[in-house]
Assembly symmetry: D3
Homo-oligomer: 245 residues x 6
């Protein structure tokens, strides 16, 4: 169920133990993909996994703005500082944790949020005062291929989810985030190496491909939810290691 459209009595009745928190970004995604791409994809995956999962889950509010200062020179990009982002998500998690929820999973759609969310998940899990465990999940890690930025995979997923919001897919001005030279970061802003803002070639993206990628991601998230649920329920985090073998 989606929290936004449920009443508190609905939530009380369902007593969800797992909360999916979609975390997106509002940032340029080339000339063809919407600025809200990361938000749209994260929310859609969270909703789909929530429906497909056996877990007693709920989809929390979508965090719409993340850490994207390097896209700041493109119109339409919004961002917050890493510390502001951490505080906002943390406060949200704290208020969610004060309920039936025992596990919070960040469903992240923007790579730039990853490290901060990863630290936060650890912080929340380790902190006695917050009574829940938190985990980071990213759809970009759940698919085999490399997800560029407004490249083939991301554009395909958008064509599957919201074709009306996608323009004519283009080839990005850069094939990769080529920001490292001699071991150092020379490009601090995207517009220094990509005029159109896209990384990767989206011209061959299709909605069919997008559906396959989307389903792969949703399946992975459903599996991940199952995994953290059983770990938490059975033996606690200490035994997590053996789950790998």
């Amino acid at each position: 169920m989606r929290l936004e459209t449920s009443s508190w009595t609905d939530v009380d009745e369902a007593s969800p133990t797992t909360a999916l928190l979609p975390v997106g970004s509002t940032e340029q995604h080339g000339p063809h993909a919407p600025v809200g791409t990361d938000t749209i994809v994260a929310r859609a995956i969270a909703d789909a996994a929530d429906r497909a999962s056996d877990a007693e889950s709920i989809v929390g509010p979508t965090i719409p703005v993340g850490i994207a200062p390097y896209h700041g020179n493109f119109p339409g990009t919004c961002f917050v500082s890493a510390e502001t982002f951490r505080r906002y998500v943390r406060d949200v998690v704290e208020s969610i944790a004060d309920s039936s929820v025992e596990t919070v999973v960040f469903v992240n759609g923007h790579g730039g949020n990853g490290e901060t969310l990863s630290h936060l998940a650890r912080e929340v899990t380790a902190e006695d005062a917050i009574e829940c465990e938190a985990y980071l999940w990213e759809w970009m890690r759940a698919v085999d291929e490399h997800v560029g930025h407004a490249g083939e995979l991301e554009t395909a997923v958008l064509l599957h989810l919201c074709p009306d919001d996608v323009g004519d897919p283009v080839a990005g001005d850069a094939a990769t985030w080529a920001d490292t030279v001699d071991g150092g970061v020379v490009h601090q802003f995207t517009d220094e190496f990509s005029e159109n803002g896209a990384v990767g070639d989206a011209t061959d993206a299709s909605p069919e491909q997008g559906e396959r990628v989307f389903e792969t991601a949703v399946d992975a998230l459903v599996s991940f939810l199952e995994r953290v649920r059983s770990e938490d329920g059975d033996e606690g985090r200490e035994t997590g290691g053996s789950a790998q073998s």
Copy 2:
């Protein structure tokens, strides 16, 4: 236009001078109204005013969680601290201001956000480093009658906007926010004076009434946008006073 579904080139072309920033809350709204009520209403009003206005406007990302600790004892309520909220919205405004946008209007759907947003609007306007003016607008102030909490007016607007997400309207356990006794605040949490969480009687709410209230609010916002636009353009904020006479 809505920022989330536009590409950066769309934004670049439109070069909007006014940004509407919907600010909501995720908090209990009685047994019949969704937890996301304030978010839903703020976003809908911003979108409608954006379409109806002559201003070159854009609707920014919706801030989904605000200042609502007093509802914290009800399941499904999320909130952040006033300082975290201020920082998050401020960072978003700063990144928006670094563009064609000259005026940001907070379209607020939750009373608890009001004072912090009001201070922030003043702070942004006064700060030279942030090149835009900011204003607070609240739909609760734009309608003549008192808007309770999940009461008649709010429920009516929801019946107009998203009837499927509204349960059977109830009478709130409290008629008003009766938290002051002898000049002091005795009730610090909503559940101390209202078991079902609603304030006001929503049983007579109708979608027709909701549509009227909604249109009134949208018209007021359109008028407000016109007002701040002309003031900014003509003579600057100093002449604001005469607009009152």
Copy 3:
């Protein structure tokens, strides 16, 4: 007893269970009332209620500067940010709570401090690490009539308390805080709608009226202290609701 003029052994002997913390502001109050009006009134009410109450109370240090950025364009106005204010008062409460004091009541004289103090009272009460309950009390809420800004009521109270510090009462340039138009806040600074800084007409204010208003406020605070004391002592905060019926 007043903390400032007592020794630690006096405090130790008295072992007060309730602390009144006067919270004021240093801000323009029209051409006739002193900049310290809110501080003067809050302190005087706290002192009088402390003397009149049966509670084992003490009057803590008076917080002299609060949240008043909107008066910032008038000479003599001092203010701090909401977060700075919250931190300062919170630290003071924390150090007070580490004693015999079980209840802290903010005796607030400035409307602009209200919401932040209200949040802080809730925060302190809810936080296990701070061993006291905190409540917000405001004299402006304890009197029936509307208290403007350097208007009739406030000026009358000053004529009762410190007539030598009051100039010739004037009629304010504004009858009300008319800052809302079309649901939005157009005036962010007081000088945009009031040249002399006063709101309301103080020309008929008299010390006799001031004494009546003052006594009403003091009586209300004494009653409020009794109320929170009995609630805390008897059954705890959970039963607060019944006190309303």
Copy 4:
């Protein structure tokens, strides 16, 4: 003139260029001296110097609570963290600086505030965005003899200023702040080395001695005001060095 009891029009007319900001503390001062000793003395000296000085000065609000965690185990002691203290005083100075005031002098009555105020004065002076210079002045540095804690000098000054608030002067349980052993600080709280909280012997303190000490301090402050005023006016801070010769 004292800001608290002046109207904004009084301030506007006087257009003071120097603001004296009394900074005190609320902390145990032995069994005979009031908890507000540092506040009382700082305020009295600032008021007297303001009257005696030719400078166009004003006395700002008195900061009543400072940095005194080491006295925290005695009843009646209040304190804030160094960072909270810095923020509060800084915000006050910023709002004062946005006026005719060009120089702010902290009139400090509590040693524990000294280093933080010294850093803050430097910070304010160096920061272009705050248009004033700030200086630290401490009465304990202005008198030749060592000022203990509720010892002879401090008690004498209180006997001069507010004899009714002083109990029978005692000999402190410690002659000096003997907290260093082998180069390290072994005692982190006053009650570890002084049961009655006083440092130094106050039994011989007299109001006559207090008057002399007080006048010495006031004269020094008047002289200091003259010094910083002429330096600022004439040649700027760079020439301060020559004042030493």
Copy 5:
């Protein structure tokens, strides 16, 4: 030259335009490598590049503790929060920038510091108030092979730099940072997947290999310094893009 062992007159004479700031970590590096590995390597590379470079460079103080909470369950690991780390390094850079230095290069030895330093470099470069450009350089990016954690490459470099501080190289309990399953992070602490704390097999590491790797890294840094120097000097950062072609 190294700042630590130079006098201010030495620095004044040299008037360096580039500052290398070694940034390390104090964290477990398996049973054979010292806890200060990242600090030792970063400092050594910075010193060597400083000597080899034609740039007028200086090596600043080495930041010894970074972001390493995931190693926290191993004895000897120290870490600070990302925000604390950012603030500390930023303050250091600000004070360095107030001199002849125009370019600051973070010579980073710990992957966990990377993203925060990358954001900080961008922040510093973009901020007008800080008059220098900052860049992130990491030796792990400068060598072709993957650098594990106390694995072959890192151990080899240590055998070259400080053989006495290296124990018998071991094979790590994990071959890679295998923390992602189904797209989510399951292991939040290193001890969940590696008992001895090492990642990669160091048993074949040799000082000769270490010397080669070290020289490769130093050469890359020298080249990077040349690059950012010429870019800054010639045409500014805007032309950075062409350096990629």
Copy 6:
């Protein structure tokens, strides 16, 4: 043992109960002494005391930059704000405390860090969540004579420790920190009263004198470690008072 060059298994085996944390500064020390003087001396004393002491001690990472804004106008000076410094050291202590360490002793080489470290030591000791006690130790307090700034004593110690890094000792342009006039601080930056940056006359400094001073400091620290160890072990901090008699 020194943490930097030990492996985590070394630390695990030793299970140290006392951690010495050297805290230095990077600031001008006249034309003859290195900018890192305070860091060099603090680290050397900590290492020597660690070796000489019977305590199961370890020397943690050296904090290289402290609170030295007043030296900021000299090339080569680095500094951080007091709050940044406090946060950084506190985070380090927190991570150290989560181990076998029960006592942390700050071995401070820079007077400007003293008060902040003293507050922090108290804060750490008093905070239940951090399971260790912290103490401030300063070598400047451990020697009988007054330690200037790059004066005779400090220079002598450097001549003993690192003669190659010391230039021709000079007489400082100031004999003392003559910053107080009429009870106020007139000089906020060192360059206002000393052109060469040194305070005190170092021309007679000798390595022999330096060795004696150094040994005195080390002996004092060893004795201090013994003291806090026995106090903690035996009767706790409450009995500290008797150590004074």
